[in-house]
Amino acid sequence: MDLDFSPEDSAFREEARAFIAENYPKALREKQARGEDLGKEDFLSWHRILAAKGWSAPSWPKEFGGTEWTPTQKYIWSEEQARADTIGILPFGVAMLAPVIYTFGTQEQKEKFLPGIRDGKVWWCQGYSEPGAGSDLASLKTKAERITGDDGKEYYLVNGQKTWTTLGQHADWGFFLVRTDPNSKPQAGISFLLIDMKSPGIEVRRITTLEGGHEVNDVFLDNVKVPVENRIFHENQGWTCAKALLAHERSGIAGVARSKRGLERVREIASTELSDTGGPLLQDPFFKRKVAELEIDLTALEFTELRTLAGEQSGKGPGLESSILKIKGTEIQQRLHELALEAVGHYGAPYLRDLGHNANIGPGYADGLAGDYFNGRKTSIYGGSNEIQRNIIAKMVLGL
């Protein structure tokens, strides 16, 4: 048993830290500090800087422009980014879709799509969920029929509706699960299509979430023509791609590094806020205990993740531990939101989104904490709800 990082790892940490300090955009940092909503270019700016350095695709093989970092290096990198409060690279292209393309795609597809993902030039969205499907993903109904176009080429004609499409309002392209065989078993008749979001017949409609934000969308597909060569892997075997993608979606979902930073932020707030008796809130016995308990739970999660990483490093793929990481990781994130909101007392109530920012109501760090709390309830729902994750552990691990 050894917890020490090698000299190479430590050197890498120094390099990563210095790179962020020198290159993270100042304007972006200021915008984040003001709690402003970030736009498309904000998200892509950091991505492009990392791409120029060759660091935008930590998990990919080298031949496609990946770093081939070890799991430990990836872990260090996520820690350093969290430590510096950087935004993350959006996962849809880099972390979710790309592995599907380089694992299942044709040479042509790899050449066409991977560079745009790596370099942050193409914004991808996910077309998995459907109204009424939810965690029962295989019940999806969006259908794609083979047709021959006027140009004599083969197309899929896609009709249906997708939902919860995160940041789909910015998307150039989307990856979609569609039903190509309505007569086979639920998982068997599904195909994996890449669709240009500018195609005629696509409409992206805003869903306002309960805290008032615009993060998710409905996507309506009405006779959308998709060239057959935009299908990844075989027709009716898209479920294979879907499963592979979901495994990538769940890894990294624990968010340990971000939660460590979040805990630090709660401590900062609670050492500024005063308790009822006038001392720092962080010294209040009730509050102090909750912070300590959360820190211990986070430590347990961190070491569970480290064990998983060690397993991966010795060649074991990300396994069913990912369900544990998802459940505990999201619960901890939600408790952090609770504690932060609780810490600011009355100043959790002002709703500043409609006022614009810099409204100077209450302490600056209170801005948006209620929004984070409400929005954060999604984490135990998405990516396979935590109830579903428990079912997975019950079935696959415990054999129940």
Binding site: E211, D276, G278, G348, A370, I381
Partner: protein, 381 residues
């Protein structure tokens, strides 16, 4: 032992419920929230004139319906079920409470205006540094001839944008956190030197940051006795907490009912998700939280007329239960609605937001747990 409501109270409940059914749909509420004012003065006028409910807890001599805290409870529970934003709590429960209990010479006149719907009140008690301590006051009122001069700032004053008057706690003596030296004033919001910064709150209400700069107050602005106002403040806040607990019971009931309804019609893996045992047990636990909350609200309501210590203990115990229930029922209602619960379009999220704000209203769960502990230990010693 009797937990039933009188015929008058049942009638009051029916009156409120049927008016709200006709005038307070989720869509009507949402439209009102989007207006600049954020409330409906016409609804307030109807509460006063058509329903007469603004007089519910006042004696008949004062022009009221002759009720008390139980009547507030009845009204507030119905308001909770419908997410009413209009300022009954600040005006009738708190404003009316201060006037009723203080023996103020002008009380009868102001209460008459409250009942008529022409005076609306917001309670400006909290300060940015004070968290939930009502005696931590930097706001001061200094004697000036027969009157007073008020200076200071108040945080997140709920309902202030809609109020004609503010009830303000201020220090007339002693140090920042002393129990002695606390006084209570009623201040005309249009008085010179009163400024407000208005804003919406996450649960659909409106609030203000209020500052007082050399505001001249007449002698009769003082409510209760000079420098000994804290017991009065605590009594009225305890009444406000019971009313808020009743509101929470209405909110929790809707969260629970809405969840039952949704899980029965939502199908996954070929069956209604309400058939999954793990969800059934969760909804049973939500139901238990709701029932316990109703019990504790009744208990605290009964204790309102007990000794100060028993009253405070009962109220804090109820607030702890309500705070926990708001979190458990609220969070699970969203979870069991899945993605739909995350949308602004569905009412469930709006009930969850109100439940979350109630958790912190008049003191968090931790605050009341600590208050309860102190009172229990104090009694044992």
């Amino acid at each position: 032992m009797d937990f039933s409501f009188t015929e008058e109270q049942s009638m009051l409940r029916d009156t409120v419920a049927s008016y709200l059914a006709d005038h307070y749909s989720f869509e009507q509420r949402r439209d009102a929230l989007k207006t600049e004012a954020g409330w409906r003065p016409a609804v307030w006028k109807a509460f006063a004139e058509e329903l007469g409910i603004l007089g519910a807890p006042f004696s008949e001599e004062l022009g009221g319906l002759g009720g008390g805290p139980t009547d507030n409870m009845v009204v507030m529970e119905e308001f909770g079920k419908t997410l009413v934003v209009e300022p009954y709590l600040g005006t009738v429960v708190i404003g009316g409470g201060f006037l009723k209990h203080s023996g103020h010479s002008g009380a009868a006149d102001i209460i008459a205006q409250i009942i008529a719907g022409t005076t609306t009140i917001a309670f400006a008690a909290a300060e940015p540094q004070a968290r939930y301590s009502w005696q931590d006051l930097k706001t001061t009122a200094k004697k000036d001839g027969s009157g007073w001069v008020l200076n200071g700032a108040k945080a997140v004053v709920i309902g202030a944008p809609w109020a004609s008057h503010l009830i303000v706690t201020a220090r007339t003596g002693g140090g920042q956190r002393d129990a002695q030296g606390v006084s209570v004033f009623i201040v005309d919001k249009t008085a010179k030197g009163v400024t407000t910064r208005d804003y919406p709150t996450v649960d659909g209400l409106r609030a203000s940051e209020v500052t007082f700069e050399n505001v001249s107050l007449p002698a009769e602005a003082l409510i209760g006795s000079e420098g000994a106002g804290l017991p009065l403040v605590e009594k009225v806040i305890d009444e406000a907490i019971v009313a808020t607990c009743a509101e929470a019971c209405g909110v929790l009931r809707r969260l629970h009912e809405g969840t039952l309804e949704y899980t029965k019609q939502r199908k996954q893996f070929g069956q209604p998700i309400s058939q999954f045992q793990v969800l059934q047990h969760r909804m049973v636990d939500m139901f238990i939280q709701l029932e316990q909350s109703i019990s504790m609200t009744y208990m605290a309501n009964i204790k309102l007329t007990d000794t100060d210590v028993e009253r405070a203990k009962g109220v804090s115990a109820a607030k702890v239960q309500i705070g926990k229930a708001c979190k458990f029922v609220g969070q699970n209602a969203i979870q069991l609605h899945g993605g739909m619960g995350m949308t602004d379009e569905m009412a469930i999220g709006h009930y969850f937001k109100r439940a979350t704000m109630i958790e912190g209203a008049f003191g968090s769960t931790d605050h009341h747990l600590a208050r309860y502990e102190t009172l229990s230990l104090g009694k044992a010693a």
